[in-house]
């Protein structure tokens, strides 16, 4: 069985790796082998919601977390002062090392072939993808094809009024494939994103910026990381000035975003500096970070100054910022516009609804971000193999994983701007934590052959240790405010944490504890009430989803529905209450009215 993956970006490599591990003959096609796993933009992996995703990828046996640890040069857990559910890991990475690590890693994966080539066409027979035609005319047969072409489909770069076709700076776009995908009938979105300039480290006056050191001790992403990770660089925080706003204001007409040249939709959460100045005219300054791109070069990424203004204006902007006034620009900021498919054309396994055995993952699905791409790549890789084997797809629920939230969001609702994950997107946020990924996903990973039995059992033993301690907490008592209470109850008090509990108890409750142990325990104890409610909600939703609606039910006879809702239902003819609930405009109350109607009808036989 052969799975061909188009594109060696973050999505493509996870897809190929998962497929190879599951026993497929995986071929990873990419335009340029030296830019495999290239970080197109910022030198960083993880962050809030994204870090959660990386941990999930780890539990499902993916490579991103291992690569991030191996090449990490700055480690931080964000939201430490908040609760376990929203704490998230982030690394700064040496970009070159990251690429090299992954290339070497993939070269050593059995069943996986790396092949440098340009894919021009997906060969479709009888409504199914069965191969890929390369630019030299060669056809690679395949049982499943996964498209992970990133920002390359009909990509176009803009710097000021200059614009040229490209997939990324100095890399060719993918034009034939873009045309082929349009020809296959896919609805296409035109999206855009941008990247800031890179500066020479020695030309920056660092005294003007405040250092942002990594955590001590630094914590890795992956359960596979045994070697100690180390902080090797520091990042710096700076701010723009009113002079910057003035420069931008005077030159706005030169930005392709404002002159109307770029029509693609950019992400609201990732605005360029000109967007920020225009949208928030009252703000005197905007912050930015200076982040080293690696250990062996002097390029500094200016996180916060993404722009598509002409180079000379970019330089003027820098000159208006104390500390950067002498900075030498090594690479200018630019914006890129590209084709993505509307992901609502995919099933929950990321397979095309129109063309069988054809999968899509990553930026091409209208998402943005390395982690989002990697998560989808992993799912597409697994599902391509399952499909080729004739097995049921692997779909994660919204209450199980951020991966599930993301895939469900994009395939169900489609996108109208580049989609990024936020914890706010998860209705079961308190359950989707970094500290319990293996509990959530370990079983799936083992069953699918994505992790070894040894790794699985080791992680389960850790889990067991935490759960035993939680039981212990309900049995052990201590005095607080003159009353004897269980440690469990005491830990539930607002403001109480595990460290304070141990102090109160007078001796350690857990030896050699990690942040994960502590987070897990605190979460289970403190969120208990909320999680119970959520679990009940989920159970109810599931039950509701399964309740069948008889094919002959006359919606006109259902009491308590508005005529508008009646018409919608009569038209859509949902087969279950779950399907009814998903029809836009059908309210929960309407679903309940149907449910009651069904109950009465069957109970009283009238």
């Amino acid at each position: 069985m052969r799975v061909v993956v188009i594109g060696g970006g973050h999505a493509g490599i996870e897809a190929a790796f998962a497929a190879a591990k599951m026993g497929a003959d995986a071929v990873l096609l990419t335009m340029h082998l030296d830019t495999i796993a290239q970080m197109s933009c910022n030198p960083s992996i993880g962050g809030i919601a994204k870090g959660h995703l990386v941990k999930e990828i780890d539990a499902l046996g993916g490579i991103m977390p291992r690569a991030a640890d191996a090449t990490g040069i700055h480690f931080k857990v964000l939201n430490r002062s908040k609760g376990p559910a929203v704490r998230a890991t982030r690394t700064q990475n040496d970009k070159v090392a990251y690429r090299d690590f992954l290339k070497r890693f993939l070269e050593n994966v059995p069943n996986l072939s790396l092949y440098q080539a340009m894919a021009d066409e997906i060969v479709v027979r009888n409504g199914r993808a069965c191969g890929v035609r390369l630019s030299d005319g060669e056809v690679l047969g395949a049982d499943a094809v996964i498209v992970c072409s990133g920002t390359f489909l009909a990509g176009r770069i803009f710097i000021g009024s200059a614009s040229y076709a490209a997939g990324r700076a100095n890399e060719p776009p993918s034009l034939q494939l873009a045309e082929n995908i349009r020809d296959l009938g896919f609805a296409i979105l035109r999206l855009k994103t941008g990247t800031p300039m890179r500066l020479h480290a020695d030309s920056i006056n660092w005294k003007n910026f405040s250092p942002q050191p990594g955590d001590e001790p630094p914590l890795p992403f992956s359960m596979h990381t045994r070697a100690k990770v180390k902080n090797r660089v520091c990042c710096y925080l700076g701010h723009t000035t009113t002079a910057v706003a003035r420069v931008i204001g005077e030159n706005l007409h030169l930005s392709p975003l404002y002159s109307g040249q770029i029509r693609g939709v950019g992400p609201r959460y990732c605005p360029s500096i000109e967007d920020k100045i225009v949208k928030f005219p009252d703000r005197e300054r905007h912050h930015f970070y200076l982040e080293p791109e690696g250990l062996n070069n002097k390029e500094i990424y200016v996180n916060g100054l993404s722009s598509s203004l002409p180079v000379e204006i970019q330089i003027k902007i820098l000159q208006a910022i104390p500390g950067l006034d002498q900075a030498r620009m090594m690479r200018p900021a630019y914006a890129i516009e590209y084709d993505a498919i509307q992901p609502s054309q995919l099933t929950a396994s990321l397979e095309s609804r129109q063309i069988g055995n054809l999968f899509f993952a990553g930026q091409v699905n209208g998402t943005s971000g390395y982690e989002e791409a990697a998560g989808q790549g992993l799912m597409a890789g697994i599902n391509a193999v399952l499909k080729a084997r004739g097995e049921a797809p692997f779909v994660l629920d919204r209450q199980e994983a951020y991966v599930g939230v993301m895939v469900d969001d994009i395939v169900r609702s489609g996108v109208d701007e580049p989609y990024r994950l936020f914890t706010a997107r998860a209705e079961y946020r308190l359950q989707l934590r970094e500290d319990n990924v293996f509990e959530r996903l370990g079983g799936h990973a083992l069953r699918l052959g994505l992790v070894s039995r040894r790794d699985h059992d080791r992680e389960m033993r850790k889990l067991d240790k935490r759960q035993r301690l939680i039981k212990e907490l309900s049995r052990t008592r201590a005095h607080i405010e003159g009353k004897s209470e269980t440690l469990f109850k005491i830990l539930q008090r607002p403001g109480m944490d595990f460290a304070a509990l141990e102090a109160l108890y007078g001796q350690p409750l857990l030896k050699n504890k990690t942040l994960t142990d502590v987070s897990y325990i605190e979460a289970c104890v403190k969120y208990q009430g909320y999680i119970d409610i959520q679990k009940r909600e989920v159970a109810k939703t599931k039950k509701l989803a399964k309740t069948a609606i008889p094919a002959d039910l006359d919606f006109m006879m259902v009491d308590g529905l508005s005529s508008e809702v009646r018409q919608k239902l009569a038209k859509a003819r949902p087969r279950t209450l779950g399907e009814a609930a998903r029809i836009p405009g059908v309210t929960p109350a309407a679903v309940n009215a149907i449910s009651i109607h069904l109950t009465l009808k069957y109970k009283h036989g009238s």
Partner: protein, 452 residues
Amino acid sequence: MDDDTIVALATPPGRAGIALIRISGSQSEGIVRKIIGPLPAELEARRSYHGFIHHQDRRIDECLTVIFKAPRSYSGEDMAEISLHSNLFVVEEVIGLICACGARSALPGEFTFRAFKNGKLDLLQAEAVNDLILANSRAGALMQFNNLEGRLSKTVASLRAALVQAAIQIETRIEFAEDQHIEATETAGDLTAAAVALEKILGQSRFNEILNQGLHVVIAGRVNVGKSSLFNALLLKERSIISALPGTTRDYIQENLVLDGFPFHITDMAGIRAGSGDDIEKQGMELSLAKIAQADAVLFMVDASLPLAETDMQIYKLLATKKRLLLANKSDMAHADIVRSVKDAFPEETVHLISAKNGDNLDVAVNFMKSLLRQMPEACGQTVVNFRQKILLEKLLKKMKRIEQMQIEGLEATEVVAEEIRQGLGLIGELTGTITPGDILQGVFAKFCIGK
């Protein structure tokens, strides 16, 4: 009101076959034991027992009884279900008997309400069940589903806005505070203001009372005119003691009556008579005056078989500002000249001749009460919510207070407060339409400058 034991007919009235009477509350089993026998000393839950319903020494009907133990029952409380023959009179009598033993008749949807309160149903189920109950009994769209109007809807809209703002602030802090150095200041003020407004409406408003107790209607009149007879005729049960002795009703008695799916709270007063009688009666009369003052409307009764007295005129003066209906009772014994004198004495009123004893022309009283619903501008126009909305709003208020408290104390983790806000959004979403994470994120991006 939740400590009460309540009773209602669970099957549609007038259907042939078997009627089911449901009792819910802590006294359920005790009441069953008082009126049904023979029963074993220990009743097993969910088992059916054969027996007879007695009133004093009279055997009323044969029945089957099942008891349920909290929380394993429909309402989540102790319950009893009595199946008996579906004869309206028998059923009314048995329900009256049960009430005499300490239960009261359930308000529409009250079983469901209790089930909901005890976590037996989720709100939506309760809503739907209740909708059906009300749909059957309510003629007009007096309190239409999701029809929030006037003052209330403004409050709900500001609540929604305040909660959405709170969500935007807190989600911004979670996603971006650390990374993007965004300081989202809390706007607890808006939330507080909205909560206060809601609390005021929920607390003060007529619907609260109306939904809980019904509109207050008092039957007023001189002694012995037939007030208790009318009261009983309206309630179809022998609740008040009737006698030919003037001053029989010495206190007041209240009962609930459901008309058009709407609860009424009817009070049978001690008859008023000019100076005399003992102290107890005097107290009862003072109470009568107070009750009249509180009433939403008064059924003012005179006796059509006896000449008007000075007391009748004095009572009438008390009713000047009240919605009222003049009933001339004992039409079966009425004298034409007395009726004429009544008409002359109360030129502003239409005189309705009725017979409480024989049940003649009682519809005028019933129609009068129904018409009150339409006349209550405040109750029906501005602050009306239906039962479900009220439950939702009460839950919402509780939630808002909790969120406020958490924000003030500042001890709970951010994401826990965010979860409470999300639950609040869920509740308000049920009233006004779902609020999605996309809506919140939109607010985040519009409000805060976020980006690389």
